[in-house]
């Protein structure tokens, strides 16, 4: 049986034999730079139209959508938690204190393991960027967003999105994500779902079954 080093050399040799003459790195880079990216289109919608589009897309996934101003975040969070019947939420490190209403219990979840996360009522996070066209939010390992399991194990996720974080399209989102591309990143589009039974989207499999978004005008 071939050992590890052999397999690596064998595969690379086989690829090179198939491909023939090798190109210099600069030639490869130039070829890559020449790839047509005509799919990028200028955005014509107004800011408010874009936010409404984002809201529509989220609702189609069956996410709850709320609006707030920079000074009313805590108040809106309180209303959502009351309507959901929650006594409090877990949260990653870095959530600003002014988002947190009185009368509810907010616990720092950064030290919790998955068993403890499985028992919390839900989680409150921020995000890095949101995409109007697809109704997606992207979370990274950053303050206010935390480790990936935090927005996964609890059954409820409440995400605060600032209007300035909402971009029109997927390529626009990548413009913002490129500088931190190596961080663990999760794109979330609605509550967890499956289409595995008769190709019908059914909400609620392993991730959070309930998902709300607060859009904050800033």
């Amino acid at each position: 049986m071939a050992d590890a080093v052999d397999s690596r050399a064998k595969i690379l040799a086989s690829i090179r034999m198939s491909l023939g003459e090798r190109r210099q790195d600069t030639v490869i880079a130039a070829e890559y730079a020449g790839i047509m990216r005509d799919y990028r289109r200028p955005e014509e919608r107004t800011r408010e139209a874009l936010l409404e589009h984002f809201e529509d897309r989220l609702r189609e996934y069956d996410a709850g959508v709320y609006r707030a101003s920079t000074t009313s975040i805590a108040q809106v969070v309180a209303e959502i938690l009351a309507s959901r019947g929650k006594a409090g939420l877990a949260m990653p490190a870095g959530i600003p204190a002014e988002w947190l209403p009185d009368g509810f219990v907010f616990t720092d979840a950064s030290g919790l393991d998955e068993h403890q996360l499985d028992r919390v009522e839900g989680v409150l996070t921020a995000c890095t960027v949101a995409i109007a066209e697809t109704g997606s939010i992207a979370l990274q390992n950053a303050p206010g967003q935390g480790a990936r399991q935090m927005s996964l194990v609890p059954d409820y996720h409440l995400c605060v999105v600032f209007a300035s974080q909402v971009v029109a399209s997927v390529p626009d989102a990548f413009d913002r994500l490129m500088p931190t591309a190596s961080l663990p990143t999760t794109f979330i589009s609605g509550p967890s779902a499956t289409a595995d039974i008769e190709m019908t989207r059914i909400k609620g499999v392993h991730g959070p079954r309930f998902f709300d978004v607060v859009i904050v005008a800033d």
Partner: protein, 490 residues
């Protein structure tokens, strides 16, 4: 060369025509497949139609994938360097046996008796589950459809929705029996909840996970996985050890390129603007996800495909299965008829090539060449072109053997080539056939039975008899006796 039993992705009990005949007799499966593919195609067409830039996205996706393949060694080495720098371990597996050995060693190093798995085609390709079970490790599938397949002791028939051939009543029966839930309802939400409860305890307990990947990202050394249910995220973040088994062709140059594929793949695969969850990560991150991360790069017959300039495009495939959903042959037969992990039009070109054209040779013929697969492919793989190219290869291979050379097909085709190459010979042959057919022609002018190999044509349809006067004869006659009519003014 590997013996067939070492290549589990080719089940190879029958060639396509026999396997297809068997599938066609199962009307329940056919109804399920028809229903699911119709639903998904409608959804796909709707969300694709929303994007005026769709053709530009296809073109860009095609160019990125083709570029990565043309410089595959360069990008694999770049991936290896960046993944290693980020704390990951990269292994290279030249064939299925090699990959099974590496995977088992990594799992045994952690004394794991159970592993949780995200749906991965490469794992099916190398027969990983059977190998692990034979060595005392229990693999647990976490994707809902894979769980249905595993608990039902079935085989996948589609690579995005492996249990597409099962309807909700059949899924309920499997879950009732295997999860001991006699009261389980048959609504999809009941079934999804049963899977959630069955697996949650396992996510929290099992410390080693196995995955595939949608993309390897050279410039970040990262991996990208698209999924719906969150089972993928559970496997990617909760265990201590994650092992991803990925075909070498899956590398893309830059994280930036995901801006194309995250638009085209969800729309093509499940007809959604975006699937619920996409994960990207590079190596290990303290306090976030596994402490140990391995990527096993799998060749297993891929690198020789790069040498064939016309068929190389097969490896651009992003496994969205849009070609399966669009294919009129797949609609009728379902996935099992292809006798391979890789079914449908893409399977018909990928499977025989992975097997160096030594097996699965009937697969390039499992198509009507209608071109629907090419039209929906988000990376523009010209499947009909490759099918014809591979048919040529099958014939060339056959002609190398004595039995192939003396076979009826070869002799018949050589005779046809000789006849068709010359108009005099063609005309002579037509006259001969016109006379020879006479005993077979019925009163209505059709032939409904032909002898020998020709019977294949008349088994399901009648053949119009050759007329007494051929078009060529008619043309010659018309033009010798009268001048062509003046063109009418239009």
């Amino acid at each position: 060369m590997n013996a067939p039993h070492q290549q589990p992705h080719q089940w190879h009990q029958h060639e396509f025509p026999e396997a297809a005949r068997e599938m066609l007799e199962n009307s329940q499966t056919r109804r399920n497949v028809q229903h699911a593919t119709t639903v998904i195609q409608d959804k796909r067409n709707r969300v694709v139609g929303e994007l005026p830039e769709w053709q530009d996205l296809r073109e860009a996706g095609s160019q990125v994938r083709a570029h990565a393949l043309r410089h595959l060694d360069h990008y694999l080495l770049q991936f290896e360097e960046n993944c290693t720098r980020a704390g990951g371990h990269v292994h290279w597996a030249s064939d299925a046996a090699d990959a099974r050995r590496i995977m088992l060693e990594l799992i045994q190093r952690h004394q794991a008796k159970e592993v949780i798995k995200i749906k991965t085609m490469t794992s099916e390709e190398i027969g990983l589950n059977a190998h692990l079970e034979a060595h005392g490790v229990r693999p647990i599938e976490t994707d809902l459809a894979e769980l249905i397949i595993q608990l039902g002791k079935d085989r996948p028939s589609h690579f995005v929705v492996p249990a597409l051939h099962k309807n909700r009543q059949q899924v309920r029966e499997i879950f009732q029996r295997e999860m001991h839930l006699p009261e389980l309802g048959e609504q999809p939400v009941d079934l999804a909840t049963a899977a959630r409860n069955y697996l949650r305890e396992k996510y929290l307990r099992i410390k080693v996970a196995v995955s595939g990947a949608n993309f390897l990202i050279a410039d970040t050394g990262g991996v990208c996985i698209l999924e719906s249910e969150g089972n993928g995220r559970m496997c990617l973040t909760l265990p201590d050890v994650l092992i991803s088994l990925v075909g070498i062709e899956k590398v893309i140059p830059s994280y930036r390129d995901l801006e194309i594929f995250l638009q085209t793949v969800p729309r093509s695969a499940t007809g959604e603007r975006m699937n619920p969850y996409n994960s990207t990560w590079s190596g290990v991150t303290p306090g976030d996800g596994p402490k140990e991360f391995h990527v096993v790069l799998l060749d297993n017959g891929r690198s020789p495909i790069l040498a064939d300039k016309e068929a190389q495009q097969t490896l651009k495939c992003v496994r969205c299965a849009a070609c399966l959903n669009a294919c009129p042959v797949y609609h009728q037969t379902g996935g099992h008829a292809y006798e391979s992990v890789y079914a449908g039009p893409i399977g018909a070109i990928l499977t025989p090539q992975l097997l160096a054209m030594k097996e699965g040779r009937s697969l390039p013929y499992a198509s009507s060449l209608c071109g629907a697969c090419y039209e929906v492919c988000p990376v523009k793989i010209n499947i009909p072109e490759v099918l014809i190219h591979l048919r040529g290869k099958v014939v060339q291979e056959d002609q190398k053997t004595l039995s192939g050379k003396l076979g009826l097909w070869n002799i018949g085709m050589q005779a046809a080539a000789f006849t068709l190459a010359d108009s005099g010979r063609l005309s002579m042959a037509a006259h001969l056939a016109q006379v020879a057919q006479k005993p077979l022609v019925s009163k209505n002018g059709f032939i409904s039975w032909m002898p020998g190999m020709l019977s294949g044509w008349t088994q399901t349809r009648d053949l119009k008899a050759i007329p007494e006067q051929s078009f060529r004869d008619w043309w010659a006659q018309e033009h010798s006796t009268q001048k062509p009519k003046e063109k009418a003014n239009g």
